[in-house]
Assembly symmetry: C2
Amino acid sequence: IAKEVAKLLEMKAQLGGDEGKPKFVLKTPKGTRDYGPKQMAIRERVFSAIISCFKRHGAEVIDTPVFELKETLTGKYGEDSKLIYDLKDQGGELLSLRYDLTVPFARYLAMNKITNIKRYHIAKVYRRDNPAMTRGRYREFYQCDFDIAGQFDPMIPDAECLKIVHEILSDLQLGDFVIKVNDRRILDGMFAVCGVPDSKFRTICSSVDKLDKVPWEEVRSEMVGEKGLSPEAADRIGEYVQLHGGLDLIERLLQDPKLSQNKLAKEGLGDMKLLFEYLTLFGITGKISFDLSLARGLDYYTGVIFEAVLLQQENEHVEELVGVGSVAGGGRYDGLVGMFDPKGRKVPCVGVSIGIERIFSILEQRLEASEEKIRTTETQVLVASAQKKLLEERLKLISELWDAGIKAEMLYKKNPKLLNQLQYCEDSGIPLVAIVGEQELKDGVVKLRIVATREEVNIRRESLVEEIRTRTSQP
Amino acid sequence: IAKEVAKLLEMKAQLGGDEGKPKFVLKTPKGTRDYGPKQMAIRERVFSAIISCFKRHGAEVIDTPVFELKETLTGKYGEDSKLIYDLKDQGGELLSLRYDLTVPFARYLAMNKITNIKRYHIAKVYRRDNPAMTRGRYREFYQCDFDIAGQFDPMIPDAECLKIVHEILSDLQLGDFVIKVNDRRILDGMFAVCGVPDSKFRTICSSVDKLDKVPWEEVRSEMVGEKGLSPEAADRIGEYVQLHGGLDLIERLLQDPKLSQNKLAKEGLGDMKLLFEYLTLFGITGKISFDLSLARGLDYYTGVIFEAVLLQQENEHVEELVGVGSVAGGGRYDGLVGMFDPKGRKVPCVGVSIGIERIFSILEQRLEASEEKIRTTETQVLVASAQKKLLEERLKLISELWDAGIKAEMLYKKNPKLLNQLQYCEDSGIPLVAIVGEQELKDGVVKLRIVATREEVNIRRESLVEEIRTRTSQP
């Protein structure tokens, strides 16, 4: 038997090479996607709104490599570090794909000894997370970050970050939203006065972070059951984290007999009051909620934290607004740059990150529902011919138009049918057709057809560029 | 002794933990760099010129993930495959960073069964090459690709690609340039009639490819010495590859007793003639050189190939123009999409890639030499105050300006000195200062200072936005 098996295995090995190449899998990697022309049109619209806001606030722009030395990312993301993509060791340095834009920014500041900058950075980041693509959660996704680095007077840059979130979300018309604000110092102070042991601050903080998704009862049982917090401490936290409001709440907590005794909480509340004063001057407190349940995941925050949430109006009762997810977030991180500086010199920073993928998803779904036709090119005119043997004339004319800066196309056929040329304009939204024909060539004119009205006018060749410009200029 | 050593080792181990963390290396990965605000300003200028050309030619835009399944890239780049960056196997799919934008484009077409598209794609690609950063050769670098896919009449899209290169290089004012053109079919035909054995086509082709860097004698000795070609065959090739010219040369080769007998060469020369006719209509043959020494490295080309080279005028003798390197290249690749299609269906493609990094290097060096001051923000006005205790008034005014779409900044200080505020404008090129003071507030005006002239005018608050717009509108 052993002999026979050996024979068969040998035969199989010989045949192996002829089994044909394995079936080729035609796909993008898990959690990623291509952007086709339609998605790109939406993407560019959103980027343009965001970039013009960042520029309105005087930001410069920088870019960093897609990968960093592995050690640059080490120890910055807590337990999320397991989601970092590493590159294969092919000799040389060990590299990882960037996980966010904040750590590369801090590395950039420390490396170039920059202590003062206001910059934005729009680029893709990478997380080996569980993708949920219909809800806009990808493994490769864009972040749009605006940060202010430098030693300044309290809460002025922080207030500007919130103003920026307000401007962008208003501008994009995504519907009603609220920006929740809290401060890491208030949270830490609150944990202290509730009797949470220092060693449990972080894990209790991450329980609190879940309050936007699960009810208090569940969070409480996690704290007590899994994390071993005393029921009394949990109940005390429960009283605080259900609070949200505005200046009135800040004033009340400043009088709170326990919190007001805690140095960190007092500092945080004082700054929160200042922040609200500035936001009042900006006229945006209507959308801001001081919310003691906001905790945010990342380790590096040290002061103000915030998160913008879109609200979905279920029915007329405003009370039943339901959050449909975070679309922007950020906060103050005064210690991160110091982690990179050889002498530990600190550069205080505050910044905001716009969660662009969720916004794309919403706008894509909305566009599909609306059946609005979206143009994916900007072509102003199709150069066409009514008869055969006019390829040379079309080439000459289109070249003239290109050289004059007109956006022009032609069909790549020697003798296209006029009907096909007109159909192409219908399909791709080109508003004008410049038709060359034998008679027009003799007369020194071009027939200009307006696709929408089917009107046709003869234009002298030397006036054609001006005529196209006038007819396609944006109002 | 052994005992003592053991003791010492134990002591060392105990001390190990206290030796402090290893010195942190503060750098970007080898062959990569950050783009600071100044570099970004140049980058955006160049991109804007290129994108507006691509749009002028009616291109849509797409984007693909930065990594692909490893097998997508396998077998597409010949021996350059060793330069591909692989990701670490962390479970799940095996991934590699994209090496160019052409293979992902072909994968995108096959996956979405697209047989007809004109698109551009601007994104970073990755090669584990030997970097030469001062000359613009990086491991992470941008490619700007424009491609036309579809079954069309011969040479019309090919001619448009060359027109695009001509437009972009003229527009960027990089100095004199020449676009070399050849055809893979002419090369293959030439090798055949010169007596190169089929099996040596590719390796001899890559020897020919070196002719832009080393003299013919060296290339010849590589062919004969290293690659075992007969001296006679090498000499015959030598006669051909030193030829370059225009339509006249094409006509001469069409009459060449040997080449005219070769089917491939004849096809290639016929199409080359057609191409030159179209380029004549575009008025660009002055910068086009049909050059039999142009070979290009990549495996996937099947027809026309081209490469644009900047010329550096050493002195008045035009004969002594010296190439300073390729800034654009491309060609026809009719077989690549078929490699991805399960049924092998072909989609003919032709495209061009702009070598943007070398262009950045040139413009960066030129800018540094010129001492031209480049602005890195677009801020129109700084909101300033002449006295103390006016932070609230500055915040109110700047908020009004932002809401009106004015690009405005302020210093993040409670009581900044006027001199510091004016200095900030000088440093960052902000042209206007809106100064609030107690008297101005009473009078309902704002003092507008023109930084360049030091002129100051009082503007009624309700006219301020309009005044700033007028004074900062581009002519």
